[in-house]
C-alpha cells in the first residue's frame, strides 16, 4: 500500500513538472566548488554547476577531461575506487551526497545509471528488469512493472515474446535499452548516462537518442558524451569540460551557436579534441 501511494506521488510530481515548463526549472543536482581526485591526482577541479529538473544536460569534452569522474560522483559510484576523494559539495535536492547522512544505497535508488558498455546481468531479460525492484521490496505487480519499464525503454515490442531468454542473446543496442529499462524500473528521479552509445552502431545510437528525448519528460537526464552532434541533438543544456575544469555551461543552443569562450568555440568547431 505504501509503495502504491509512493508511486502515485511520484506520478503526480512528474505531471506537475511537465506542466511547469515555462517556470524557472529547479535544481536537482548542484555542485559547489567540487574537486574530485584519485589519490593525489586531481581529475575534476573546482567545478560548480546546477543541473535543472526534467532537462537533458550534456557533459562534453575531450577524453580524460573528467566527465565520467564528475558523473560517477553524482551517485557515489566513485566509492568503488578506493583512492577516490572529494572536496567541495555536491547536493542532490539539498542533500549533501557525500555527507554521512546520505546513504549511497538509498541515493542510487533515486539516481540511476547507465554505463558506457551495455552490462546486462547474465540472466533472462525479465530478471534483469525485475531484480532491482525485487530487492528493493516492490510489492506491486512485477510483470506489469517489467512490461512498463521495457515499453518506456522502447524495447518491449522487440522482446515481449522472449522475456525469459538470456539478455546476451540481444544485440548491443537492445542490451543498452535493456539497461535503461532496468534503471527506470526503479522510477529514479535522475538518470545518469555515461557515453551510452559509444559501443553502439549508428542505428542503435539513433534509437537511444530518440529514447533520451522521450525520457526527458519523466526524468532528469545527465548525459556524458564525446559526440558533439549527439549533445547538440538531444540536450537542453551543455557543459564543456577541459582538463578537469568546467569551461562553460549554458543552454545547448547558445553553446553551439555563440559560445562565450574561445576554447569552447575551438572544441565545438573541431579544432582540437
Amino acid at each position: 500500500m505504501a509503495e502504491l501511494r509512493n508511486m502515485s506521488v511520484t506520478d503526480s510530481r512528474t505531471r506537475s513538472a511537465t506542466r511547469r515548463v515555462t517556470a524557472a526549472p529547479d535544481t536537482v543536482i548542484s555542485a559547489e566548488n567540487l574537486t574530485l581526485g584519485y589519490g593525489s591526482f586531481v581529475a575534476v577541479r573546482d567545478v560548480s554547476l546546477d543541473i535543472p529538473d526534467r532537462k537533458v544536460t550534456a557533459i562534453i569534452g575531450p577524453s580524460g577531461c573528467g566527465k565520467s569522474t564528475l558523473l560517477r560522483a553524482m551517485n557515489r559510484m566513485n566509492d568503488v575506487v578506493p583512492s577516490a576523494n572529494v572536496q567541495g559539495r555536491l547536493l542532490y535536492r539539498g542533500l549533501d551526497i557525500y555527507s554521512p547522512r546520505c546513504d549511497s544505497v538509498e541515493l542510487r535508488l533515486k539516481i540511476g545509471m547507465v554505463f558506457q558498455r551495455p552490462n546486462p546481468f547474465p540472466k533472462s531479460i525479465y530478471k534483469n528488469v525485475a531484480w532491482a525492484p525485487k530487492i528493493n521490496g516492490y510489492r506491486g505487480d512485477m510483470g506489469e512493472l517489467v512490461e512498463r519499464s521495457l515499453q518506456h525503454a522502447a524495447l518491449w515490442d522487440e522482446v515481449k515474446d522472449k522475456l525469459h531468454q538470456c539478455a546476451y542473446a540481444l544485440s548491443g543496442g537492445q542490451q543498452q535499452r535493456l539497461c535503461i529499462a532496468r534503471a527506470i524500473a526503479l522510477q529514479p528521479d535522475v538518470l545518469l548516462m555515461d557515453e551510452p552509445c559509444s559501443a553502439l552502431d549508428p542505428i542503435a545510437t539513433a534509437r537511444i537518442e530518440d529514447l533520451i528525448d522521450e525520457l526527458e519528460n519523466r526524468y532528469t537526464v545527465v548525459l556524458v558524451t564525446h559526440n558533439m552532434q549527439q549533445a547538440a541533438r538531444v540536450s537542453d543544456l551543455t557543459a564543456f569540460m577541459y582538463m578537469g575544469e568546467l569551461v562553460e555551461f549554458d543552454a545547448t543552443e547558445t553553446m553551439f551557436t555563440k559560445p562565450g569562450r574561445q576554447r569552447t568555440q575551438d572544441y565545438i568547431t573541431g579544432r582540437f579534441g
Partner: protein, 299 residues
C-alpha cells in the same frame, strides 16, 4: 626512400626442420605421460581386479583371512572424512576468498595474506599432519577421531579452495558489480545475487580438485595416528576411523602377496571414486566456459 634491396636469408628449410623436430618432441612427451598412466592402470587392474567383488566392499579388513578381507571400514571412513572435510573447508575457504577479493582493502597486509596462502598451498601434507597432531589430537583432545582427521585435511585443502575461489571471483566482470550497485543493491546483495553465481562453477571445480587431493592423502592421517586396522564403521565424528589410502598403505606394507592384491583392489576402489570426481570437474569447467556469454560477446 628508395634504398637498395635488403639482404634476407630466410633459411626456410632449416626453420621448417626445427619446427618438425619440436612437434615430434612435444608429441613424444605427451605420449610418454599417457603411456605411463596406461601402464600403471593396467598393472593395478591386473593385480587388483580378481580381488574386486561385492564382498570386498562389504567386508571388514582381516589380517588372518586375506581372501575374506574388504574395505568396508576404509570406504566408510573415507566417506565420513570427506563429508566433514567439505563441510568445514568449503564454507570457510569460500568466505575467506570472498572477503579477500570483495572486501579487504588492497594494502600491504592483504598482499601479505595472499602471498602466505599461496605458500601454504605448497606446504607438504605431512606438515599439516604434525599441526593436526599437536592442535586437534593433543590440545583439543579429539584423539584419533574422524573430526581430527577431517580438520587436518580441511587445513590442507583450504589454501587450494581459497585460491581457486579467488580466481573464480576475479574472473567475474567488474561491470556486474557496478550494474548491481548502481541499482541500489548493497554489497552483500551484489555478491549474493550476481558475483557468487557467476563464480560458482569455478569454485566448485576448485573444490572438487582439492577434495580429490585430500581423498588420496595418507601421510597427514598417519601422522595424527589414524588406525590401520579398524573393524567397524564410524558412527559419529568422534569415532576412530581408517581411510582408503591408509588401508592400502597397510596392505602394501605386509610381506604376503595376497595383501598386495588387496592393496591393488583398494587402489581401484579409490580410483573409481576419484576419476568420476575429476570428470565432473572437467565437465563443469567446459560447460562454464561455454556458458560464460560475457566472455564471447565482447561486453
Amino acid at each position: 626512400m628508395n634504398a637498395e634491396p635488403l639482404d634476407f636469408q630466410p633459411g626456410l628449410a632449416r626453420r621448417r626442420r626445427a619446427g618438425r623436430l619440436f612437434t615430434l618432441a612435444l608429441t613424444a612427451a605427451g605420449l610418454a605421460g599417457i603411456g605411463f598412466l596406461i601402464v600403471l592402470l593396467a598393472r593395478v587392474l591386473w593385480e587388483g581386479a580378481p580381488s574386486l567383488s561385492r564382498d570386498f566392499l562389504a567386508n571388514f579388513p582381516s589380517v588372518l583371512n586375506p581372501p575374506k578381507a574388504g574395505v568396508k571400514s576404509a570406504l566408510w571412513g573415507t566417506v565420513w572424512l570427506m563429508t566433514m572435510t567439505v563441510l568445514v573447508s568449503v564454507p570457510i575457504g569460500v568466505a575467506t576468498a570472498v572477503y579477500l577479493e570483495e572486501h579487504a582493502p588492497n594494502n600491504r597486509l592483504t598482499r601479505f595474506i595472499h602471498l602466505n596462502i599461496a605458500n601454504l598451498a605448497g606446504v607438504p601434507s605431512i606438515v599439516y599432519g604434525i599441526l593436526g597432531l599437536a592442535v586437534f589430537v593433543r590440545w583439543m583432545h579429539f584423539d584419533r577421531s574422524v573430526a581430527a582427521g577431517a580438520l587436518t585435511l580441511s587445513l590442507l585443502i583450504m589454501p587450494v579452495i581459497i585460491i581457486a575461489s579467488r580466481e573464480a571471483l576475479l574472473a567475474v566482470p567488474q561491470s556486474f558489480r557496478h550494474a548491481a550497485l548502481a541499482l541500489g543493491a548493497t554489497k552483500w546483495q551484489t555478491i549474493r545475487a550476481h558475483v557468487l553465481p557467476a563464480a560458482l562453477p569455478g569454485i566448485i571445480t576448485g573444490v572438487i580438485l582439492a577434495v580429490s587431493r585430500a581423498i588420496g592423502e595418507a601421510a597427514p592421517l598417519l601422522m595424527i595416528g589414524a588406525l590401520t586396522y579398524v573393524a567397524f564403521v564410524p558412527e559419529g565424528p568422534f569415532d576412530a576411523f581408517t581411510a582408503l589410502p591408509i588401508q592400502i598403505f597397510d596392505w602394501c606394507d605386509r610381506p604376503q602377496p595376497q595383501f598386495h592384491h588387496l592393496a591393488a583392489a583398494g587402489i581401484l576402489v579409490l580410483l573409481s571414486i576419484l576419476l568420476p570426481m575429476n570428470a565432473v570437474a572437467v565437465a563443469l569447467r567446459a560447460w562454464h566456459t561455454r556458458r560464460k556469454a560475457w566472455q564471447n560477446s565482447g561486453i
